[in-house]
């Protein structure tokens, strides 16, 4: 009988981590549906970026208030997780505050967890007020209606509840320590929860133990539920930000990727020794599809980008097209990419393989109007705190529109014809290129 809590805990741990691993595998499978990318270069720069941008939160502070609040929640998340380790050991082996043997160091740890928990709680409440009551434009865009808004609030409620449970667990523990209850040896320092002591003074030892155990169990179960909620939410960035930043571009932002398949074709066209009427002999001679019409045409970094996006909307609020009322929203590009990828993932879960559903990212999710509104100014890329690149998806989809469908806006077709015919986007003769010298 005495091992029932241990066994229960083992089951909770097993289920919590088991489901999480299952979902992680699904994410990895879905990302691997994308085209391979080589990120073996610039290792040093990439690690540097991970330390500076992901761990160091260097881009968050571009917006001082939300940046500061985010850093508090981030540090709280990382540091308070040390406590989870203790909870897991205690749960498995039936110990209580196993790390308390660390003495003064333990007191410092618990004290800092408490202070951080309070700071996180305050920050999260401010986040909630900002999101729901202040008319901050990036939280009220059309793509944020419905689930994305609820999702954001659910995450904030989770954090509020978890931090509160942590503090309640501590204060009831402290009161039990004061009463000298069995197993509740004096350990830890409680600079925050001790203020709540008056509320617990009149409770009996039994009620306190029930209260403390309930808070303890709800706290750890809450953590596991939250861990598994991640996959269904926009909150995966707490894990994926790190690999995503590692994958992020290390080139100047103006350098758009070179399409190798086109290079091969153009070289063939320009080679005077090539027989223009030759039929392709090997499979590799058959030209690949140019650009992207669906998520499977995108590369793995772009798909990882989509899972990493936490819909903060910095990209959209800095987008010149969006600011001037155009339909384009870089955040929506990322959300659509993830939604479509999830849809394909579920299709594969159902059918064992991808069964054509007559849908694609282009038109069914992202409209042409959005794609053509982009000025390629890189403001979205610059503003993303976790190195997401919505512009690369826009460019890949434009390539599909132009090279596979010849569906550019007419004015652009005219410009491109001019470039082809006379080497300038305007209809001026190349032979007049030096005329500026004369007049």
């Amino acid at each position: 009988m005495q091992y029932i809590p241990n066994i229960l805990f083992l089951i909770v741990l097993f289920l919590g981590i088991g489901f999480f691993i299952k979902n992680c595998k699904k994410i990895i499978r879905n990302i691997k549906l994308g085209q391979k990318v080589d990120i073996s270069d610039h290792k040093k720069t990439r690690w540097n970026n991970v330390f500076r941008i992901a761990l160091g939160q260097s881009k968050m502070v571009a917006r001082p208030l939300s940046g500061l609040l985010h850093i508090i929640v981030y540090i709280g998340f990382v540091v308070i997780n040390i406590e989870v380790l203790e909870i897991i050991i205690d749960g498995l082996f039936g110990t209580h505050r196993i790390f308390s043997g660390l003495g003064i160091f333990y007191n410092i740890l618990i004290a800092s967890f408490e202070i951080l928990a309070l700071l996180v709680l305050v920050s999260v409440v401010i986040f909630w007020i900002r999101r729901n009551f202040k008319k901050i434009k990036r939280f009220w865009s059309p793509e944020m209606k419905g689930w994305p808004k609820n999702d954001a609030n659910i995450i904030l409620y989770f954090e509020m509840v978890l931090m509160s449970l942590f503090l309640l667990m501590n204060v009831s523990d402290l009161q039990l320590q004061i009463l000298g209850a069995d197993h509740y040896n004096t350990a830890g320092s409680f600079p925050v929860s001790s203020y709540l002591l008056p509320l617990f003074e009149n409770l009996s030892e039994t009620s306190l133990i029930i209260f403390e155990r309930t808070a303890w169990w709800l706290h750890i179960i809450g953590i596991f539920v939250f861990l598994n909620y991640l996959y269904y939410s926009k909150h995966l960035h707490i894990l994926l930000a790190f690999p995503n930043v590692y994958h992020g571009s290390v080139e100047p932002k103006g350098k758009f990727k070179n399409l190798e398949s086109v290079t091969t074709e153009v070289k063939l066209m320009m080679d005077p020794n090539q027989d223009p009427f030759a039929t392709p002999t090997t499979e590799s001679d058959v030209p690949a599809k140019f650009g992207a019409s669906d998520v499977l045409d995108l590369n793995r970094t772009q798909l990882l980008n989509a899972y990493t996006c936490t819909e903060c909307g910095r990209c959209t609020s800095n987008c010149p097209a969006n600011q001037t009322g155009k339909k384009l929203s870089p955040r929506k590009i990322m959300m659509d990419t993830r939604d479509r990828l999830e849809e394909i993932g579920k299709n594969i879960d159902r059918n064992g393989h991808f069964k054509d559903d007559n849908k694609q990212l282009l038109d069914n999710y992202i409209t042409r109007e959005e794609l053509w509104a982009c000025t390629t100014c890189n403001a979205c890329v610059e503003s993303c705190p976790v190195s997401i690149d919505p512009l690369s998806i826009i460019m890949d989809m434009r390539q599909y529109l132009v090279m596979e469908q010849s569906a550019a806006p007419n004015e652009l077709n005219i410009s491109m014809t001019n470039i082809e015919n006379n080497g300038a986007p305007w209809p001026y003769n190349q032979m007049d290129r030096l005329n500026w010298k004369k007049n």
């Binding site: 571009a62 080139e251 100047p252 932002k253 103006g254 350098k255 758009f256 070179n258 399409l259 086109v262 290079t263 074709e265 153009v266 070289k267 320009m270 140019f290 650009g291 010149p320 097209a321 600011q323 001037t324 009322g325 155009k326 339909k327 384009l328 109007e369 509104a373 000025t375 390629t376 100014c377 890189n378 403001a379 610059e382 460019m395 434009r398 599909y400 132009v402 090279m403 550019a408 806006p409 004015e411 652009l412 005219i414 410009s415 491109m416 470039i419 082809e420 080497g423 300038a424 986007p425 305007w426 001026y428 032979m431 290129r433 030096l434 005329n435 500026w436 010298k437 004369k438 007049n439």
Partner: protein, 264 residues
């Protein structure tokens, strides 16, 4: 005045068995657009004045392919790029300067993958180097103490992290440099990039160039300085739409340097 311009072509240099220190890539706007041609001439005046040994490709120059690439036409871009690389390599070009950030970005970042490796500079970077080497003298002149703001071209700033060269030149002109709310890495696009210059904007509530111009006018500059022929066009249109052309000028930094010194 036009007679004073000395603009040798690469073909002429080759005929004399010489090669210039630097190739001036004029670009389509610089060659054909009436407003941008003035920037081209201003820059050439500075080059002439400093005795820089340069040449242009003239009729052998062709669009870098930037608007084609950004419109999604990788084929056309690569055809343009490979043809240009062929021309540049035949003349054994090592160093290129250009007054257009789009040409600058494409030549610098996107030609290497197709075999074209050159040392490419934006004209503000080139002029700053001339200044540092003592080959160019810039003094305040008529711009001394004037309220001037610089509009960062996306393809010079965010795309290539060059924010200081144009500002250093403006400081040399002893202007009162004032910054717009959104500047440098946070700078707002003029609305012309990504081939938007060549099409109408999608439906919205405002033109991007108007938004940008309004922001510039808020801080009451007497000149909005730029370093890009397309930004120049857009902001000039913006100033006109606000009927402020009598009070606010839109000038390229090269033009300002020429005007300050009254170089002719």
């Amino acid at each position: 005045m036009s007679e004073a311009l000395i603009v040798p072509t690469m073909a002429e240099y080759l005929a004399q068995g010489k090669s210039p220190e630097v190739l001036f890539w004029v670009g389509c706007a610089g060659s054909f657009d009436d407003r941008a041609k003035k920037i081209t001439k201003a820059f050439v005046k500075i080059l002439n004045n400093c005795g820089i040994d340069f040449a242009v490709l003239g009729t052998e120059e062709s669009c870098t392919g930037d608007p084609a690439k950004r419109a999604g036409n990788e084929f056309l871009f690569q055809m343009q790029a490979m043809a240009n690389i062929q021309t540049l390599d035949e003349y054994k070009i090592k160093k290129i300067v250009t007054t257009c950030p789009h040409c600058f970005n494409t030549l610098k970042n996107e030609y290497p993958n197709l075999g074209g490796h050159y040392h490419v500079m934006h004209h503000t970077q080139f002029l700053k180097d001339l200044l540092n080497e003592g080959r160019l003298k810039v003094e305040g002149g008529k711009f001394k103490g004037k309220r001037i703001t610089f509009h960062d071209p996306c393809y010079l700033g965010r795309a290539n992290n060059e924010y200081e060269a144009p500002r250093d030149l403006l400081k040399k002109l002893e202007v009162e440099l004032i910054e717009m709310r959104r500047c440098k890495s946070n700078g707002l696009c003029c609305g012309a990039g990504g081939a938007q210059m060549f099409k109408d904007a999608e439906a919205g509530t405002k033109e991007i160039y108007v938004e940008r111009t309004e922001e510039a006018l808020e801080i009451k500059p007497s000149i909005i300085a730029t370093g890009c022929p397309f930004c120049n066009t857009m902001v000039t249109d913006g100033v006109k739409s606000k009927e402020k052309e009598a009070e606010v000028q839109v000038l390229d930094i090269a033009e300002m340097i020429v005007n300050a010194e009254d170089i002719t």
